[in-house]
């Protein structure tokens, strides 16, 4: 009895402390910055106006309030708006209400979640990552925090590339840990993601179109030549170490440690073995024998044994050199990686600003000015001048991605309907509006969660437990288990209740979960929970709706997520768990519908909730002809709207 309450209290304390909802930084740019933002919008509009005029193309039709709201909610917060949000916006009479909405959403929790998804895909974040010790959670947590705090993008990249230490000391090291033991690939990913240059071929031979030689590849890679990922260089600070050992003594001599282990593992009859196993694991952790990122003296990246060209010998070490652009000065007496980070994430590095500006444009318009996003050739851009303009805007806004998003969302092109005419491959696209886009897997899942539960961000992945938070036997046990066994934790941000998911169970789909539908809150039974994609294991398990809709496996391909249809995907929408919840008469959606009594209005609530628009004339006729006002009919209507392609496209 007392045991339960103790654990309860302790977990409450630790988890709640780490899961408390921190509000994202307000979006409140200085007047000076607002001036730059406004003139940037104008510069972009002027350029696209000119090109469209030259091509004799009109802009696409404008957006009504409903279409606009749906689009910005999906683009900025990763989910469709709720019925209430939509109606609230439609009734807003302020002339600048669209700007107000954009400002509000840029400072929302949804923005953080959605932007995290974007980078998690780009950086191929996997929950199961080298480094044990909740390395991935720490890295993810750091990334979310960075988005929360509105850290400039160049700063973010600088911190990742130059990071050293253990994941506990410096969570940005997760960037290097992700690609442990594949340094040459790591370099190729780096250039694709941050510089829009695909040099992967030159890893093994001179690039076929002679862009890069293998030697150049190795020259560039040599900036990571001293990078080492190995055991234990961290926790060198004696103070910390002493403290941790003092803690350890406290913990293992604490009478409750053994009793905690016994009560948890006693049934298996091997308490003593377990206790000593935990002692061993804890010692390993406390001594800092965890993976750390550091720099060694001398490069470990000689030319490969099968180097075949005449300009050098196999095994030669090559002098570090940048692969595109030019050197930009900077400190010389710092580690090579810091020199690399200084150069790469530098406002004067044109490829760096161009790459992210093009990516952000593509994120909102459905297509980059130059494609593919990870291998840009200026001369193949649909409009090199527009690309240059975007790149300059990015620099002028000091890599503030929220301000840049604000600019794109205020452009004339963004505020138009998606193009009716289909994109022709390898023909330039001139941006009379965005492309018609299918939502990403994350946007579809998060939209379903929005429809199902009242507070989609209630369940959060908390920061992993810290060694310093270990206070007694039970928390030591908790700590070690979390660290060692790959349990995936979620915390209810309302009451601190902790939920463990078996992060190793790849086969789990969410088919076994139950939702307490009547209260409109997600509750897991077995494995997954109705939490936003950003809070779930990365990537989601293979049977999950997210994966069926094309969430990336996060393996060896940058941008491997896809938006292509499949039969299992649609079976999921027709018969799967979300649809079962949404069509049941206890669902949140049903309760909203029942709050109005006129059957016609009820149908409108369903339309506004799912498709975020009102039924048109033909649809009203269809409603009259085919459905009545019984609960059955409402269920059928909800089912039907979830199963129209319109639901998961952004018009």
């Amino acid at each position: 009895m007392h045991r339960t309450s103790l654990i309860g209290f302790f977990l409450f304390w630790v988890s709640f402390a780490s899961a408390q909802r921190v509000q994202p930084a307000p979006f409140n740019p200085s007047n000076e910055k607002v001036g730059i933002m406004r003139s940037s919008v104008k510069a972009i509009n002027d350029r696209i106006n000119r090109v469209l005029a030259r091509e004799k193309l009109p802009y696409n039709p404008t957006l009504n309030d409903f279409l606009f709201a749906r689009r910005v909610y999906v683009d900025l917060t990763g989910t469709i708006p709720t019925y209430e949000q939509l109606v609230h916006f439609a009734n807003d009479k302020r002339p600048s209400k669209r700007t107000y909405l954009i400002n509000k959403l840029l400072a929302s929790e949804g923005y953080v979640s959605h932007t995290f998804n974007y980078f998690a895909d780009l950086l191929r974040i996997q929950t199961k990552m080298t480094g044990g010790e909740s390395a991935s959670e720490r890295f993810s947590g750091w990334l979310k925090d960075s988005i929360h705090q509105d850290k400039p993008y160049n700063r973010l990249v600088f911190e990742m590339i130059s990071s050293s230490g253990s994941i506990r000391e410096n969570p940005a090291t997760g960037y290097h840990l992700r690609d442990k033991d594949m340094k040459l690939d790591h370099v190729a990913f780096m250039t694709k993601v941050f510089l829009a240059k695909d040099i992967a071929c030159a890893q093994c031979h001179d690039h076929p179109s002679d862009d890069w030689t293998q030697k150049q590849y190795y020259s560039f890679a040599s900036y990571l030549g001293e990078l080492e990922i190995g055991q234990g260089q961290d926790l060198a600070k004696d103070k910390d170490r002493k403290m941790i050992f003092a803690e350890k003594r406290k913990i293992f001599h604490h009478p409750r440690f053994s009793s905690a282990v016994r009560s948890k593992y006693g049934r298996t009859g091997n308490t003593a073995g377990k206790v000593s196993e935990f002692h061993r694991d804890f010692k390993k952790l406390a001594e800092g024998k965890t993976l750390a990122v550091f720099d060694d003296d001398g490069s470990n990246l000689p030319l490969p044994d099968d180097y075949q060209y005449d300009d050098a010998e196999p095994g030669d070490l090559v002098k570090p050199a940048f692969i595109v652009g030019r050197p930009l000065g900077g400190p010389r007496n710092v580690p090579l990686r810091e020199q690399l980070a200084f150069w790469l994430a530098n406002p004067q590095n044109g490829w760096f600003s161009l790459a992210i500006a093009n990516r952000m444009w593509a994120r909102y318009l459905g297509r980059g000015v130059a494609e593919p996003l990870h291998n840009v050739e200026l001369e193949k851009a649909s409009d090199p001048i527009l690309l240059k303009t975007l790149s300059e805007v990015m620099v002028a806004l000091e890599f503030d991605l929220r301000a840049f998003s604000w600019v794109v969302l205020h452009s004339k092109a963004y505020n138009r309907m998606g193009s009716r005419v289909q994109l022709e491959e390898r023909k330039p696209y001139h941006f009379p509006g965005p492309l018609l886009r299918r939502m990403s897997a994350e946007q579809i899942w998060d939209s379903l969660v929005t429809l199902m539960v009242a507070d989609p961000l209630r369940y959060r992945q908390p920061a992993p437990p810290s060694l310093l938070e270990v206070r007694d036997g039970w928390s030591a046990l908790e700590f070690i288990e979390n660290v060692e066994q790959g349990k995936y934790r979620l915390v209810d941000s309302r009451n601190g209740e902790e939920i463990l998911i078996d992060g190793n169970d790849e086969s789990s789909s969410y088919g076994n979960q139950r939702v307490s539908i009547s209260s409109g809150t997600g509750k897991k039974k077995n494995n997954l929970i109705l939490a936003r994609a950003s809070e779930l294991p990365q990537p989601a398990p293979s049977g999950h709706l997210l994966r069926k809709f094309g969430q990336s496996e996060r393996l060896f391909v940058v941008g491997a997520s896809n938006r292509v249809g499949s039969v299992p995907q649609l079976m999921e929408l027709m018969n799967g768990f979300p649809t079962e919840v949404l069509t049941s008469r206890d669902s949140l959606l049903f309760r909203k519908v029942r709050s109005v009594s006129d059957p016609r209005k009820q149908a409108e609530v369903v339309f506004l909730s799912i498709l975020n628009r009102l039924p048109n004339k033909e649809e009203q006729e269809l409603l009259l002809a085919q459905t009545g006002s019984s609960e059955e009919d409402l269920s059928d209507l909800i089912w039907a709207l979830l199963n129209t392609p319109e639901f998961f496209f952004i018009k």
Binding site: Q203, P568, L570, G576, E580, E618
Partner: protein
């Protein structure tokens, strides 16, 4: 065109091919032709095997305790060789039921792989390739669908039970295996829970509400979704609970397969191949990653393997399907011959085993060997060679295995089908 395809990377290429495919051929037909394989034609001579059940022992199966036993305390550890039904084959005493069917199964004892890291080795065992930047390779069932066509007009051509990655790799999503998490539930969670009339009504409504959008955006992407909706409805109009429902099997048979996810998964696999699925993979319920564990754990692991695989062989034989269904049992790598102090064994990529039985396989022999200390495998066979062996038995060889535009060829490098084990 070819240069263009070669010069771009995977995601772009896939998007492009799909675009062309949709524009010219209609979604469901296209990619096979475009990606360079021939139109599947009726095989002139019947392939030695037309179904594969791939049983994957996750975590690194200890070959010494299963298919490559050693008769010494130092290396055999808790296991000793026993004779089997075949004079040419010994197995570990932990596998008595399989030993009793020794005439129908064979073992490759000289498998090697280049990495001792679980996830990378697992990737190699599933695709035949090492992981490389910018590319994900297809799993074998997806390749088979590409070279041989769909194995059934309605059922998926490959199914993965209780497993994880990889999927269709760089092939289009049409080639995805259907993932099933829990064999006992099958696809229950994905089948309509409403009656047919109601489903029809709902589908009709959905079509009605889709028309304004489809009309405003006459895009291939939108049309493709309409196609997929039609296919899905067609798929569900058959009695789809039937092939996936192992509760329709007799209770004593279910029990014989083993009352655990692996056993029930193997039973579902048999049910599916019986009805037209070509390739089914089942992952073991227990992980062989027993570096900390001792012999207690081993007994559980070996019993699961022995009981389930022997029951599967018996069941297939009883139904006259063993001749045309290949069973493969293997793992990402093996375990060190020397037992550690705590009774466990470490990762051992250089020298592990695969068991093959049934369709296309010569029974009762061991191919390749390791020395008395479990090392020095000869001749070395890599996962890609195992894949090539399965491919050969399925009739995927000859002109059909060739270079795709801008792609490494199927199975990479120069795989050697392991002829000795083929019937």
């Amino acid at each position: 065109m070819k240069e263009f395809l070669q010069s771009i990377d995977e995601s772009t290429r896939r998007a492009f091919l799909l675009q062309v495919a949709k524009a010219t051929l209609g979604v469901s037909l296209a990619p096979r032709f475009l990606l360079g394989a021939e139109k599947p034609k009726a095989p002139s001579a019947k392939a030695p095997c037309d179904r594969v059940i791939f049983l994957y022992m996750r975590g690194g199966m200890s070959q010494i305790d299963t298919f490559d036993p050693k008769d010494s305390q130092e290396f055999g550890g808790p296991s000793r060789p026993i004779p089997t039904q075949s004079p040419d084959l010994q197995l570990s005493d932990k596998l008595p039921k399989l030993a009793a069917q020794g005439k129908d199964l064979s073992v490759i004892r000289s498998m090697t792989t280049k990495t001792g890291a679980h996830s990378q080795a697992r990737y190699v065992m599933h695709t035949g390739y090492r992981q490389r930047t910018g590319m994900t390779h297809p799993q074998l069932g997806s390749w088979a669908q590409m070279f041989l066509g769909k194995s059934d007009p309605i059922l998926p051509s490959s199914v993965i039970i209780a497993g994880g990655n990889p999927g269709p790799g760089f092939l289009p999503p049409d080639y995805s295996p259907l993932p099933i998490g829990n064999a006992a539930r099958g696809i229950k969670d994905l089948l309509p829970k409403i009656d047919k009339a109601k489903l029809e009504k709902r589908v009709r409504l959905a079509k009605g509400f889709s028309s304004s959008f489809a009309h405003y955006f006459p895009h291939d992407e939108v049309k493709a979704y309409s196609d997929f909706y039609d296919q899905t409805v067609k798929f569900m109009s058959g009695d789809m609970s039937e092939p996936f429902d192992i509760m329709r099997e007799p209770g004593n048979l279910r029990a014989r397969y083993g009352n655990h996810p692996f056993g029930q998964g193997a039973l579902l696999a048999r049910r599916l191949v019986e009805r037209g699925v070509r390739y089914v993979e089942v992952t073991s319920s227990r992980s062989w990653d027993s570096m900390h564990g001792g012999s207690r754990n081993l007994a559980n692991l070996a019993n699961e393997l022995d009981g389930t695989v022997s029951s599967l062989m018996t069941d297939l034989r009883d139904r006259g399907m063993l001749d045309s269904t290949m069973i493969v049992v293997t793992s990402e790598f093996g375990r060190t011959p020397k037992v550690k102090g705590n009774g466990g064994r470490d990762h051992h990529p250089n020298g592990f085993s695969a068991m093959l039985a049934g369709g296309g396989i010569k029974g009762g022999i061991a191919v390749g060997e390791t020395d008395d200390s479990g090392r020095d495998p000869f001749p070395e066979f890599e996962p890609k060679d195992l894949h090539a062996t399965i491919a050969e038995a399925l009739g995927m060889t000859g002109t059909k295995i060739r270079r795709l535009p801008g792609r490494p060829s199927f199975l990479g490098g120069k795989p050697k089908p392991i002829k000795e084990i083929l019937a």
